[in-house]
């Protein structure tokens, strides 16, 4: 089995089927225009205030990019005024994590519609299309079929999310350098790039869960209903349940100890640990989804 060829063909198919739908194209264009408009307004305001501080009624002192600042001397740095008032200078480490979180979160938010639509269509959509039988009648083994299907959704849909977010955000981060929306937070471009693996791992969990639901569902409509309920349970249930689990189960102390140790680590170690923590649910969900994927039950 030529897996790279299969993956390329599946990605091409996903992109073509997604981008050839008029509604999807309009969705992309409108999202991009809104995003460019919002960022453009921010850049315009920043330039106006930095060029004529008196006219804007605010005194702006641009902070140097965080990469050039020593990380451990936050207390000794001067406070920076902004249009929102005086805000203490933020630590470079926190800014990096805000940037990574912002990058991953916004990208996921922007691509979530495409990602979910394509994920839930992996098998249920093929069923609706009456193409599932032909797909299953191909000589691709179960693991390759499931994993390739997931990757063919994950990679192009994430790329669409980054196209919508990363490019305008990086340009804005470069132009603003030391301020975003009046706050003295400069967005380091490298931190935005570091958000790519973070977002991919979070998306991988969503795709594995969605593909498993899709394979078990009789139609795209059924898959959407089940996934909606699961999404609600996992995210909201997890939000309430996780603190309780940490408090009342033996998992609590080691997780708290890990959290304390993580805060003391250098950034690169923190980043690696965060990726590892995100990779664990993605791997578990993928393995569970693979175990649930029974090719000879998909048509019954």
């Amino acid at each position: 089995m030529n897996r790279p060829l299969l993956l390329r063909a599946m990605i091409a198919k996903e992109l073509r089927t997604t981008l050839r739908q008029r509604q999807q194209i309009w969705g992309l264009i409108i999202t991009l225009l809104v995003f460019v408009f919002v960022i453009g307004m921010g850049v315009r305001e920043y330039w106006q205030r930095t060029r004529s501080p008196v006219a804007s009624g605010a005194h702006v002192q641009a902070a140097p990019p965080p990469e050039t600042r020593p990380a451990a001397s936050a207390a000794s740095r001067p406070a920076v005024a902004s249009s929102l008032g005086r805000v203490p200078q933020l630590d470079a480490m926190i800014i990096r994590w805000i940037s990574i979180g912002l990058g991953a979160g916004l990208t996921l938010f922007l691509s979530l519609g495409y990602l979910l639509a394509a994920t839930l269509a992996t098998f249920a959509g093929e069923k609706d299309n009456r193409t599932l039988e032909i797909l299953l009648a191909s000589p691709v083994d179960d693991t390759t079929l499931f994993v390739t299907k997931c990757l063919s959704v994950l990679l192009p849909m994430s790329a669409i999310g980054y196209l919508l977010f990363l490019i305008p955000a990086s340009v804005a981060a470069f132009l603003l350098r030391s301020e975003l929306a009046g706050l003295p937070i400069s967005i380091p471009v490298h931190a935005l790039l570091l958000s790519i693996p973070v977002m991919l791992l979070v998306s991988a969990s969503v795709v594995a869960l969605g593909a498993a639901v899709s394979a078990k569902s009789q139609s795209l409509k059924g898959a959407s209903q089940v996934f909606g309920a699961l999404f609600f349970i996992v995210f909201f249930g997890g939000g309430y349940g996780l603190p309780l689990i940490l408090r009342f189960t033996p998992l609590g102390p080691p997780v708290r100890a890990f959290g304390k140790a993580w805060l003391q680590m250098p950034f690169i170690a923190q980043y690696a640990a965060a990726l590892l923590v995100l990779a664990v649910p993605a791997a578990i969900l993928t393995l569970v989804a693979l175990a649930l994927f029974k090719r000879d039950r998909l048509l019954t």
Partner: protein, 319 residues
Amino acid sequence: MSDLAIQTQGLAKTFRSRRGSVLAVDDLNLTVHTGEIFGLLGPNGAGKTTTIRMLCGLIRPSAGQAIVDGLAVTDRPDDVRARIGLVPEDAGDHGNLSLIEELEYHGALHSLRRATVRQRAMPLIERLGLGDRASHRLETFSKGMRRKFHLIRALLHQPRILLLDEPTAGLDPAIVEDVWDLFKALAQQHQVTVILCSHHLEEVEKLCDRVAIVRQRLLAQGTVAELSGGEGRWRIALANDAAPFLPLIARLPGVHEAAAQGALLRFSLTSEARDTVPPVVRAIVENGGAVLEVAPDTRDLRTLYKSVVGDAQQPGGPQ
């Protein structure tokens, strides 16, 4: 390499759900030879599609086994699928891909590169009259054009066995004969085995070397001539009641399955007793019978099909 392309032994499938179980296929024993066009007939719900899916490894049998091209489907399903080209009855496609894009995608499922796909597909596309539509999206195709595309897709990876479920449904009659010629050429020149599920009995009669009639289980299997009684089956029409002559001819050597229906005597001859017809006629005439007609007792496939499927529906017949 075995001469048998497909062999099923006691193949069975029961679908179980909370509402009960449904027996779709029961104790099915089929033998299909390499390079043969084999018709699989049966009424709706007879288990034909389930049988096809079990042969492709898409459904696991509840009992029995299927050997395809010498490989047990349950042991090596991926290898079996590489040898099979499938055209399901309700096949679909990705409407917003063009014909050639969809073929490239399908080719990748069989590890075929784009150049190979185009090289193999173009002659088929031209043959089926879709040459000027290769770059058009499938959603713009008519039902018949889509059916042609499904055939091209099934042939793309040069399968050794073709499983076709109503392959010519919706096709323009002018192109149907071209498609039949294509199937014949594949079977005769390339030794491709074709399993044809069809309710189009004329198609089956014209194309198939052998047929099987199924209704959950196998009801009949053989060449159309064998099943329709053309080989060794005779009927004698009398001017009077045939019943008194029945014991007389049943005693003759080589005669079996003799039956009387009004003025009609029906009987079969063993293969060694093909020349026994004149002695049978003589025996009737010598005993006072007035023979009006002697003819091979053939039935067309439609009559045979109705008779076999009808018998199976009778109380006590196979269900």
